[in-house]
């Protein structure tokens, strides 16, 4: 092979091109529904890219990434709420008001999610295996119940967002513009992930997945490596959550529910674990199934369950594995 492109790279490139082409064509045909569908794919893929860093490369089976997704959503929602009400989130020891500026919201989201992930990760990573799965699930559930018990921000009913977040240039309320924002962030996250995985840090992280004893014996303590990856992973998923809230104009406890954690995991698995573009393929497949199968039957969850079961039992390479062949190890 001299052209230098592997089959997987061709598949990945096609996926990106398709995701870009679909809303452009839809917008040209004046079909706004499909623009929003493509935006959903980009956002959920972004959430999956985040989880993939922890799960696919670091071997940390986090069943609580909805916590970060929802937290991102709530940061966006609460910022918009206070900006709309012109009230303050905090008056003491200093005043923090709301904001409808995307860049501000993203920065705050990243900070808040990073702090929470640091706390959750620091406790959860003391354990491993099935304990880790259950503990991440339990912490996500804790944040879910916390959100429900906050009447100021809608409690069980959630919070509607009346202000569309603003970009310094361009109007993010315009569907196609917002799609480009999400698509751009997805590209950025994929690029950052790719660099990270290939870097020294990535090598250490993958070794932590394969053989933690070996990593420690080489003089690299596994815990900080895993914790760093966990926090980065959470931040990416959190940004996706902020976008998701913006897209829907709504944030509620359902963004934090454990079904959501399961779904984000499904994106990663449907696409193929440990594949850079797995989450994109998985999210696309998921959304397509949901909107088209859901179109002619309301038993869509049954179909999803059956597909997922079949993939886990019989097709472990996921969609990318199917299209691009086996994972090659380097």
């Amino acid at each position: 092979m001299t052209n230098g492109l592997s089959r997987e790279q061709v598949v990945n490139g096609s996926l990106l091109a398709l995701l870009l082409a679909a809303p452009l064509i839809a917008a040209a045909l004046d079909e706004p529904f499909y623009v929003s569908l493509a935006t959903r794919v980009a956002i959920l893929a972004l959430a999956g890219v985040g989880l993939n860093l922890a799960l696919g490369y670091g071997g940390m089976v986090s069943f609580g990434h909805a916590a970060f997704f929802g937290l991102g959503g709530y940061v966006a929602g609460i910022a918009a709420f206070h900006a709309f009400e012109e009230s303050a989130f905090l008056t003491w020891p200093f005043t923090i008001g709301g904001s409808d500026q995307l860049l501000v919201v993203w920065t705050v989201t990243a900070l808040v999610v990073a702090l929470v992930a640091l706390a959750i990760g620091a406790v959860s990573l003391r354990t491993s295996g099935v304990y880790f799965i259950m503990i991440t699930l339990a912490f996500a559930q804790m944040i879910y119940y916390l959100a429900i018990s906050l009447p100021t921000y809608g409690g069980e009913d959630g919070l509607s967002i009346y202000l569309r977040n603003q970009l310094p240039m361009g109007d993010s309320a315009e569907p196609l513009t917002f799609f480009f924002v999400c698509y751009g962030l997805l590209l950025l996250a994929l690029f950052v992930s790719a660099r990270l995985v290939a870097s020294r840090f990535g090598a250490a992280l993958q070794c932590a997945r394969m053989n933690e004893v070996r990593l420690a014996t080489l003089g690299i303590a596994p815990f900080p490596v895993k914790l760093t990856a966990f926090v980065l992973s959470a931040v990416i998923t959190g940004i996706a959550g902020a976008l998701f809230a913006d897209l829907n104009g709504f944030v509620g406890p359902s963004m934090l529910s454990w079904h959501r954690s399961g779904e984000i995991m499904i994106f990663v698995i449907l696409g193929g674990v440990g594949r850079l573009f797995g989450p994109l393929a998985g999210a696309a497949l998921f959304i397509l199934l949901e909107s088209f199968v859901g179109g002619f039957t309301d038993r869509w969850q049954l179909i999803l369950g059956a597909v997922l079961l079949a993939v886990v039992l019989f097709a472990r390479g996921g969609l990318i594995g199917l299209l691009a062949g086996k994972l090659r190890h380097g």
Binding site: M142, S149, L150, G305, L309
Partner: protein, 306 residues
């Protein structure tokens, strides 16, 4: 605050705890013996509740319904084990999580298909209606007391089963040495199906009994499932004793936290804020408890194996 109120709340906590134990026992047995994490355990709880209320209504007897719910859950458990679960024993935890998550989706949808979207309700059986007077006035529902008795009796029964019977011996052997038990000529496949069905029956029993206290609907097993996870993480995954201690601890902490934390904050803050802060904190106490225990003992209170 009266003594009766305190006793009532303690009993509520205990009742919640033993109900969690019935769920956690099955989870922890299945993990301890087969090394499997089963998210679909909550679905078996739901199946028990649905069949209990349906058969109870058709037959006119709560007791027939309860028996039916228990059997339906056990049967569903056995079928699921044979069709899906046994392919997962030598898979990693990620595969187990996803496959059993898929089972939840399937079982919820099938249940909705059979029973419809409307929640079902169950009445307290006449035998257990009424209340037992508490010292200082008031009374405590006999039905809830009965749940406590059934839960504790089940715990004792499990203890006898594991320490005194041949099945229990096999369960213990399975925990320590899977290959040996195979070499002894025990049919390990049947043993695993039996253990899984036993866990399912306990979940079904819990579901059936709880059906009287809350509405029976799709998804009812999930909050309980997650609490049962918290329980076995606290107790030590694989330990039935840990599951019992963990259940009671979680049941009491959660119930008492919800009652007393808002009151505690009312001493320091205005009422509205106290209720808000108190109930927010109460909803997270058990998770904080879990975090504290894990910082202290990462493998739970009664670690298995090590």
């Amino acid at each position: 605050m009266s003594l009766a109120f305190l006793i009532e709340q303690l009993l509520n906590g205990l009742q919640f705890g033993v109900m969690l134990f019935l769920m956690a026992a099955g989870l922890t047995l299945v993990f301890g013996v087969m090394g499997l994490i089963n998210l679909a355990h909550g679905s078996l709880f739901m199946i028990g509740a649905f069949f209990c209320s349906w058969i109870g209504e058709v037959s006119g007897s709560f007791w027939v319904g309860l028996g039916g719910g228990l059997l339906a859950a056990a049967l569903a458990g056995a079928v699921i084990e044979i069709v899906v679960i046994r392919r997962l024993y030598d898979r990693d935890h990620l595969d187990q999580v996803l496959a059993t998550f898929a089972l939840i989706l399937i079982l919820s949808e099938v249940t909705r298909w059979i029973f419809g979207d409307q929640p079902l309700y169950l009445d307290v059986p006449p035998l257990l209606a009424g209340a037992l007077p508490l010292p200082g006035g008031g009374g405590y529902p006999i039905y809830r007391l009965a749940i406590i008795v059934v839960g504790l009796a089940t715990a004792y029964g499990l203890y006898l089963l594991i320490t005194r019977t041949r099945l229990g011996m096999r369960i213990r052997a399975g925990e320590s040495d899977r290959e040996m038990i195979g070499a002894l000529g025990v049919d390990i496949r049947t043993l695993y199906t039996a253990i899984f069905a036993l866990g399912a029956a306990l979940a079904g029993l819990a579901g059936g009994m709880v059906g009287v206290l809350q509405s029976v609907q799709v998804g009812m097993g999930e909050p309980v499932l997650i609490l049962a996870f918290v329980v076995i993480v606290i107790g030590g995954i694989g330990s039935v004793k840990g599951a019992l201690v963990g259940s009671i601890l979680v049941g009491l902490t959660d119930t008492l936290g919800r009652v007393f934390l808002p009151r505690l904050f009312a001493l320091m803050l205005p009422t509205a804020e106290a209720t808000a802060v108190g109930s927010a904190l109460a909803s997270v106490t058990i998770y904080l408890l879990m975090a504290a225990i894990l910082v202290w003992r990462p493998r739970g209170l009664f670690p298995v194996g090590a």
